[in-house]
Amino acid sequence: MLADFWILMVERGWALALLRGGAVTIAIGLLGMLLGFVVATPLAVLRWQKVAVVSQLVDAYSIVVRGVPGLLVIYLLFFGSVDMVKTVATTFGYQDSVDNAYPYIVGVIAIAVISCAYSIEVIRGALQAVPYGLLEAAKSLALPTRITFSRITFPLALRLALGGINNVWQMTIKDTSLISVVGLQELMRTAAIAAGITRSPFLFYCIAAALFFGMTAVSQTLFSRAERALNRGFGGR
């Protein structure tokens, strides 16, 4: 039993493949989440300030993306965009690089599109929860709007949003398993291939589960630490 396990994991190289898959999962998840967050922040601010038209568009985007299975978003992005991107890239002579990097690029963008929709809701909720008096104080001191936002509103909202962002991140890291359809060998896909070929589905799915669990556990610790750091000034609640 243990010997079989050794042969599968080490001699046939599945352990390394799974770790490589895990690395792809983390990379795609991290980049996608980051990109999504960077885009979500201004959109959430526009939504928060109820800017006409933009506000409705942001709402529509958020509802559609949150209402449709993630797989579809990935399909549409991947199969809908290949031709266009390819034409553009070919014109500029990047044919090869596109062929090789394309799944990664689309993977990150797809994850970003999904996580962005959820991040918008989280950030907007947090912005709304910042006590208005604190912003009035800034106003009464003539602080420019931009400074008020970057030095007062945003840091305070960030603290309030942290729990929600943690949730989005946990979801995002698991959503990366959908990216396999575009040909990325991330953790879940590697596990599926290994399960199929070695005919040990439970072994490999359980290993995948354990690896996912490890990732979320580590990020949970990091988030708790961040929360403690950001909670300076709040009586450590």
């Binding site: 046939r12 034409t87 070919t90 040909g183 896909r189 199929g196 589905p201």
Partner: protein, 272 residues
């Protein structure tokens, strides 16, 4: 006059563009092959990404005939067709069954092989000793039968075994697991699956129902055997592939691969 001139030049430009486009996508000397990579014996991607199995042998044979280099792209079965549509690869070699419905979407080469199909049931099941398709059809009414999603077998059960309760699975391993757990009364799959399963401890209580079913027995639902899939309308590529496959069938290369992986000859002879 001017208008016709404009149309002509527009046509010429578009032809030029499309010529450039095809030149750019199909790189010289490389055939890009989409395959699923997690189908035992057919298409197996190892940890470092190399593909082996019957499909891989066929692909390598074709590449040798065409004097090009094979480049494998491993992708889940369900995304193979749209990926080919968006030019991620040129052909699909993944044990793809040829059916009339699918031919509306993609073109196929000539069929080169087909797997014999069998029902498997528990040894103590009343189904175990049946001797003909008709007997199976009668006995299986009201029983649950498992098949793998995406195969033509599902439709065979739906059309030919109307009384049966169909269960579909994403992977062969899941199908055999449920058969072993007793959730389904019988399963319908290709011979290679059963050779493997019946040899495992789980398979010890099960037996093949001794009725060999071939695609040619019911081409309307089971199709015409396995072919290489390609984008619609590429007659030049189809001609090349057909010729290469025909040669491989004739000189025994397909049989050789089939014997190696399945210990049985699945070759379909090449009709000229």
């Amino acid at each position: 006059m001017i208008i016709s001139k404009i149309i002509k030049s527009a046509l010429a430009t578009s032809l030029l563009v499309s010529a450039l486009a095809t030149a750019a996508s199909a790189k010289d000397g490389v055939l890009r092959i989409g395959t699923e990579g997690d189908a035992p014996k057919f298409s197996m991607a190892d940890p470092s990404g190399n593909v082996t199995g019957f499909d891989a042998d066929i692909a390598n044979g074709i590449c040798a005939e065409l004097k090009v280099k094979c480049e494998f792209v491993v992708q889940t079965f369900s995304s193979l067709v749209p990926s080919m549509d968006s030019d991620r690869f040129d052909v699909i070699i993944s044990g793809l069954g040829i059916t009339a419905e699918r031919q509306k979407k993609i073109d196929y080469s000539i069929p080169y092989a087909t797997t014999p199909l069998y029902f498997v049931a528990a040894k103590d099941s009343p189904l175990a000793g049946l001797k003909s398709v008709d007997e199976i059809e009668k006995a299986i009414a009201g029983k649950t039968v498992g098949v793998v999603t995406g195969t033509t077998y599902a439709r065979f059960i739906e059309k030919q075994m109307k009384g049966a309760d169909l269960k579909t699975y994403d992977a062969v391993t899941q199908l055999t697991a449920d058969l072993a757990n007793g959730r389904i009364d019988a399963a319908f799959e290709g011979s290679p699956t059963w050779v493997d399963f019946l040899a495992t401890p789980d398979g010890a209580n099960f037996t093949k129902i001794d009725v060999k079913i071939m695609a040619m027995d019911a081409p309307d639902v089971l199709g015409h055997g396995m072919g290489v899939g390609m984008r619609k309308g590429n007659t030049e590529l189809k001609a090349k592939l057909d010729a290469a496959l025909c040669k491989m069938v004739d000189d025994g290369k397909v049989k050789e691969a089939s014997m190696q992986w399945f210990q049985d000859d699945y070759t379909i002879s090449c009709k000229k």
